[in-house]
Symmetry: C2
Subunit: 341 residues, 2 copies
Amino acid sequence: MKGVFDVPAELEPLQAWVFAGLEATTDQIDAALASDIPAVATLCKHVERFRGKMLRPTLVLLAGSAAGAPHDVPASSDLVKIAAVVELVHMATLVHDDVLDEADARRGGQTINHQRGNETAVILGDYLIAAAYHLCSTLPSQEPSRIIGRVSMELCAGELLQLENRDNLSLDEATYFEILEGKTAALVGACCLLGGMVAGATPEQVAGLDRYGRRVGSAFQVQDDVLDLTGDEAVVGKTLGRDLKKGKITLPLIHHLGALDAPSRGQALGALEAVSESGGDDDSHSGAIVTALAETDSIASATTTAQRLVDEAKNALAPLGASPARQTLGLLADAVLTRDR
Amino acid sequence: MKGVFDVPAELEPLQAWVFAGLEATTDQIDAALASDIPAVATLCKHVERFRGKMLRPTLVLLAGSAAGAPHDVPASSDLVKIAAVVELVHMATLVHDDVLDEADARRGGQTINHQRGNETAVILGDYLIAAAYHLCSTLPSQEPSRIIGRVSMELCAGELLQLENRDNLSLDEATYFEILEGKTAALVGACCLLGGMVAGATPEQVAGLDRYGRRVGSAFQVQDDVLDLTGDEAVVGKTLGRDLKKGKITLPLIHHLGALDAPSRGQALGALEAVSESGGDDDSHSGAIVTALAETDSIASATTTAQRLVDEAKNALAPLGASPARQTLGLLADAVLTRDR
């Protein structure tokens, strides 16, 4: 899709249908956030700018199409409502994440917390969540509300587990994936699951779409870790330092520490602590770590993991018949690995 | 009820039924928050201490009983679920409010933000909201989810309007009540409305119960304003200073400023600004304001407003037949005015 990969000619009609669906999704979000209170309306207007590539609504629409939603007519209002719900949940997490990260800027605009203070950002995030749940509860079936409620709990549990493990340089791989599953994969899985469900997918297809989304979400995050550590060495050192300072442990680092014997591991942990404390300003240590990561093939190992997740994602689509939408979901999964950022 | 007013003998069977319902509500909340992740379980255990008098679940149960829920058997699971949902929403607002207020202690325990940092408090609040919505979506009808979604939006809009008007010493009465309606009254109204709805109340009874709850919630807040300004003058001066420093304008102050001519009003605003800046440490100014409030009968005026709201609350119960529960709702409304804190 636009900005993610080049669309082959045979997929263009589907792409046009998705774009129309995304426009309808935008209108639905605007309607869901409408408020008579000028202060609320202004804030919601500002937060609109946070909408990026609308990846999650795109997945809802593609999953719907792959499950049989006709694409010679506009996307149904239920599919569009689900698309709006997941994007609202995602926007809420962005607003609250910015409070957590004390971020000043997002997508070229000032963050709400920077512009209006943490109080406003916390409540605005709550408003977005409430709007998401309210919109979801207007669907004919209650099942999407149950799923969105459960996934939101998973999302928060993942964040809490991550906060609990902040500065835990010895984070193990199982906990890394548990955090990933909650923080990222669960909502991406729900996008695909719900899109399929609303379009009338069988239980087997719904389960396959959920699995596809979870694997794609995980692969995206693992690939993010890899991209953080590849490229110009000075930049990588800075990124590594910034990540470590924030207490963010990436998969290549976990692999690296696991591949070392006890004395080397102790040494490596010491170097990581030094980088973490300097926040990346001390280039000598972070440069040494990047070199050491190569010696244990840790970046290659993470790349292999991301590739495996993408393969699993594509295999999970087996219960769905061939269709332009299924083909596109496959291309999207591949694009996770080929993107440069 | 316990800690709010003395219960006449004829209401004791109802009281026992409510207490049993509240115990079931507590179990329901614990079940809704259960998590396999130890970090999440520990935080939820901590937040349990924030449950106070369980006023909102009590209102759900009483409204249910007033609308015909039999009280010779335990409260039905749907009524108990609703009671748990509203308390979870309320607990979430407490956790997020503590982030806003930068509070260190609540109900004798350390606040989450003080103990674990703002990040954890924001996400834990989100977890509580998600648990509330999820539990609500397991009810047989989707109507409660719609109402909880709408009321949560009202709640946030009220908070945002209040934040927008922080430090606005010239806040007008209409905006004061708009904030109050969203921040406090809407959720209290929903407690009564939903309790009645689940117990099979008629639309007229449901509307009456909503109105009762909203008026009681508003009366409670207005009476809080009055109690802030009555009693020992030195203490009142301190409270006034603290409120003003937080940018909190109370109803008696609004009345006072409205009762003055233009030059006196300018003088009074100057004095308020001085108290606001000193945060109550400058007793001379705050003492003068308390004296001036008496001259314009501003505290008496707010008391009259609270009394009117309580009368409206009791009148709103007219569509319900006489019952111990209706009698208790009336006593609860009266207790808003007679409580000393």
